[in-house]
């Protein structure tokens, strides 16, 4: 284990809370988000999210100026709400705060309540405090999901569906989870479901708010579900926890189902909760994954890996590497997480002699450690291109954000099929790198020496 404390962050490995909140809100049907703060926050987050998803991302801002900052931003926020309703006619509005709004102490809940009464508005307006200095985008996603469920889930009438609550994973991953649930004939409420809203099909005419998202009526009835399966490992205060505390909905937590073991755990849990059998077709997918793992196991053994990104993603990629004989030497995340460290330390693992875990870190540190450990492959979002540019370490792009390639939003990694897809990408990156230089390497190593 290796820890250094420094003040300066050199090349950030994370983004800020409201960004995660925007993505969570996109998982509600016909919703629109408004950031209470200065204009730039909305613009930059829109750009970041748009470049990853290759979709228009409309996010309003209360456009706080100097006056609003000094005397309070209430007027701006009210005007912004009026205009959002006029232009977008949403079924739900999310208000996220930024650093600025939090620091000047805006009471958005009061403003919201008064606004709803004075305008006689019945659609839900959900507030979430997401100061940029309060945590990373990953925490913003969970916190906002929590606020949405807390606000909307009021109905405890029992029904036969299960809640599946997801972290920030790809749109293809969301669709894969739905496919697996449908193959197992399990009625479900997936939340937040941005698989269509952030990866919408081409169609005329253009819609300002794309179709898709978890229905508000479904979120309302999450308190009456048979159980909640919460995907992700990192957080205590989660929407699933809320549903358990408030409505006694049994809560089960599983890692993101990437990798054989994690996917097994996910499906086993589904089977246990519902009694539904795992169909043959899914077992065949599992068999194909194992077949693929055998095909590539020798190639993978040379892999010396840095894994970085959101903690829950990092954990599942870590276990997948372990299953395949790839040596994870550096595990890094911009978030603060004790849980990840504990989970990784608890793995019984013969390869585990030199694993370093760093949280709240940045890319300059990740590069330095990766070079020290002579890492030969990195897995994570595309800002890791820094490791390739500066350190010559090839990068397998995975997670959020992927800004420098097309298709980053629809990379499939969950389930047996997704895992095989990820594994192939990792193995092929290792092979490509090996074949790139092996003639030269052998010449240098054996011919020249003789």
């Amino acid at each position: 284990m290796y820890e250094t404390y420094k003040s300066v962050n050199e090349n950030p490995c994370n983004m800020c809370m409201p960004l995660g909140g925007i993505i969570a809100f996109r998982g509600i049907e016909k919703s629109m988000v408004l950031l209470h703060g200065s204009q730039g926050c909305a613009t930059y987050m829109r750009r970041h999210i748009a470049e990853h998803y290759h979709e228009p991302i409309d996010v309003a801002s209360s456009s706080l100026n100097e006056k609003g900052t000094v005397y309070g931003g209430e007027k701006n926020l009210i005007k912004a709400l009026d205009n959002v309703i006029r232009v977008y006619n949403p079924n739900c509005i999310g208000i996220l705060t930024t650093c600025l709004a939090e620091t000047i102490g805006e009471d958005i809940d009061r403003i919201k309540s008064e606004y709803k009464t004075s305008r006689n508005i019945s659609i839900p307006i959900i507030t979430a405090p997401t100061p940029g200095y309060g945590g990373t985008h990953s925490e913003g996603f969970v916190k906002t999901s929590y606020r949405i469920v807390e606000e909307l889930s009021t109905d405890k009438e029992r029904h036969d569906r299960i809640n599946v609550i997801v972290p920030n994973i790809s749109t293809a991953d969301l669709r894969e989870i739905k496919r697996l649930l449908e193959l197992m004939k399990i009625p479900y409420i997936l939340f937040p479901d941005y698989s269509d809203t952030l990866d919408s099909p081409f169609n005329f005419p253009y819609k300002k708010i794309p179709d898709g998202g978890t229905k508000i009526s479904d979120i309302m009835s999450m308190g009456g579900s048979i159980a909640t399966i919460e995907i992700g490992i990192n957080y205590e205060e989660t929407p699933g926890k809320y549903l358990q505390d408030r409505f006694d909905v049994p809560l089960y937590k599983v890692p993101i189902p990437i990798g054989l073991r994690n996917t097994d755990a996910f499906l086993k849990l589904l089977k246990e909760i519902t009694g539904n059998p795992i169909p043959k077709s899914i077992e065949m997918e599992r068999g194909r994954l194992i077949d693929g793992m055998i095909d590539s196991h020798k190639y993978n053994f040379v892999g010396r890996c840095t894994i970085f990104g959101d903690p829950e993603m990092v954990y599942s990629v870590f276990t997948t590497c372990m299953e395949n004989g790839i040596h994870p030497l550096l595990i890094a995340t911009g978030s603060k997480t004790q849980k990840l460290k504990e989970l990784i330390a608890s793995e019984d693992n013969p390869l585990n002699d030199d694993i370093t875990i760093v949280d709240e870190t940045d890319f300059s540190h990740i590069l330095k450690l990766s070079e020290e450990k002579e890492v030969n492959i990195a897995i994570g979002p595309s800002d890791g291109k820094y490791l390739t540019e500066k350190g010559g370490i090839p990068l397998v792009r995975l997670g959020f954000p992927i800004l420098d390639r097309v298709g980053g939003q629809r990379i499939l990694s969950v389930g047996y099929t997704g895992t095989l897809n990820l594994l192939d990408r990792i193995t092929n990156t290792l092979l490509e790198n090996k074949y790139k230089t092996y003639r030269k390497d052998m010449y240098e190593k054996y011919y020249k020496v003789i």
Binding site: S7, C16, A50, K79
Partner: protein, 452 residues
């Protein structure tokens, strides 16, 4: 056609060429709350201007997001150091917001100095730094003294205006820095090139032209510039300004402070490039320079014209919409589209100035919609109503355009091909052809996504 909008307040920001509106056209003011403006903040304006200074450290004093979203924000190329491609942040956390972040900022500078020994550090103020009242100036001054380097504060708190205020903040920081050096004796045939950020080598293309004309380029603000080149700026006889929005202010200050005159130029499109080069040569009133300039224009035009004519055959009669940052760029783009036989039907900018909008109205066709600080909903409305086939804009506009089945030209910070000069004019024509004549539109123009 009606200019009615969902947000009535926005109607003041929109006009149509040929229609006499009683109401005054408004620009360069605060965005309407909730209108989904495409504008950024003061900090971002300052960052994009200063970022290409390649051996400088760019340290953002604020919470992490500000530095995350602007890491390597421009595709600027460098012939020297790559230090500028990093993004440093004091990463303010909740406790810093409560107790103040000056001490942390000071430590950050210490750590940066120890690791990189830079000669120049820019320290950007963000919303939070401004609100909690950290005295960035004092910290910079102290660190400058401690290490005998230049630590320059940039007053760019996000909420004190829009991107244009950030440009001004950046120019003030540049001016403060340059004032620290001795004023040099003017070299007769030398020039500073302002408002080019060397995206995909654009500043190199123009520098090449100026050199061929017999002129020496002292300093480029700020594409491929560095600490040493900034020192040489006062030795120039003329400042030329390409990106008017960001750099006219600095040029004016140079005139006041160092008695160096300036002129606005544009190197977008053959017409503007040739005119600008002639204007520059005329300023120096030197026979040799003028001769060389004409020779350059002739050679380059001969090279570019036929290629552009070839594309024009396919593009004639198409309609374009423009939504870019500054008014001056929009004006050049109108001309550039015309060189390709394309009519511009919608023109919007994020931060255009009054005089620029007057010029736009003057040269636009009858019926063209002109709008300031447009939002996606308005862009969509007017592109549909005016039947635009192509949109020129930035990243956020790209996906709106594509979702509407409309071709798109990238005029953003991180494009990977130059659009300046004759080479750029060819690239532009090629890009317009590539997108407007792509076979993909065949499958979407009939309107619906259906298998049979």
């Amino acid at each position: 056609m009606e200019l009615r909008l969902d947000i009535p307040e926005r109607e003041k920001f929109i006009k149509m060429k040929g229609k006499h509106h009683k109401k005054e056209f408004i620009c360069n003011t605060d965005s309407v709350a909730g209108s989904v403006s495409q504008r950024a903040c003061v900090y971002s304006g300052a960052r994009v201007v200063l970022n290409p200074i390649e051996d400088a450290v760019h340290l953002v004093h604020g919470p992490i997001g500000c530095a995350s979203y602007t890491w390597d924000i421009r595709g600027s190329l460098s012939s020297g150091s790559e230090l500028f491609r990093n993004s440093f942040s004091s990463d303010l956390k909740e406790s810093d917001v409560i107790f103040g972040g000056e001490e942390k900022l000071s430590k950050c500078i210490d750590e940066i100095y120890e690791k990189y020994k830079p000669k120049l550090i820019f320290v950007y103020s963000t919303c939070i730094a401004g609100v909690i009242g950290d005295d960035i100036k004092a910290v910079c001054k102290e660190s400058s003294k401690k290490y005998n380097i230049y630590v320059v504060p940039v007053e760019s708190s996000g909420f004190v205006g829009n991107k244009a205020a950030g440009y001004k903040a950046a120019c003030n920081s540049l001016l403060d820095l340059i004032k620290e050096f001795p004023v040099l004796k003017k070299e007769p045939l030398s020039i500073n090139y302002m408002g080019d950020f060397n995206l995909a080598g654009e500043a190199w293309i123009i520098k090449g032209y100026l050199n061929q004309m017999g002129l020496k380029v002292n300093t480029i603000f700020t594409g491929d510039s560095n600490f040493e080149s900034l020192k040489k700026a006062t030795a120039s006889s003329l400042n030329i300004v390409q990106c008017a929005g960001s750099m006219t202010y600095l040029a004016k200050k140079f005139e006041e402070t160092f008695d160096i005159p300036y002129m606005k130029v544009s190197f977008l499109g053959i017409e503007d490039t040739s005119n600008s080069l002639r204007k520059i040569a005329a300023f120096f009133n030197d026979k040799d320079v003028m001769l060389k300039t004409e020779k350059l224009i002739e050679e380059k035009t001969k090279m570019a014209k036929p290629i552009i004519e070839k594309y024009k055959r396919y593009l004639k009669g198409k309609k374009a919409a423009i939504f870019v940052g500054g008014g001056f760029k929009a004006i050049s783009l109108i001309k550039q589209f015309r060189e390709l036989g394309i009519d511009v039907v919608v023109i919007g900018t994020q931060n255009g100035q009054k005089d620029e909008y007057e010029k736009i109205e003057e040269i636009a066709d009858y019926g063209t919609v002109i709008l300031d600080d447009a939002n996606p909903s308005e862009l969509e409305k007017f592109m549909v109503e005016k039947g635009a086939d192509i949109l020129a804009g930035g990243v956020k506009e790209r996906f709106l355009s594509y979702k509407m089945g409309i071709a798109f030209i990238d005029h953003n910070h991180d494009r990977k091909h130059p659009l300046s000069g004759y080479e750029g004019a060819i690239n532009f024509a090629e890009e317009v052809y590539t997108t407007a004549c792509s076979p993909v539109w065949k499958y979407v123009k009939d309107g619906v996504n259906k298998c049979v």
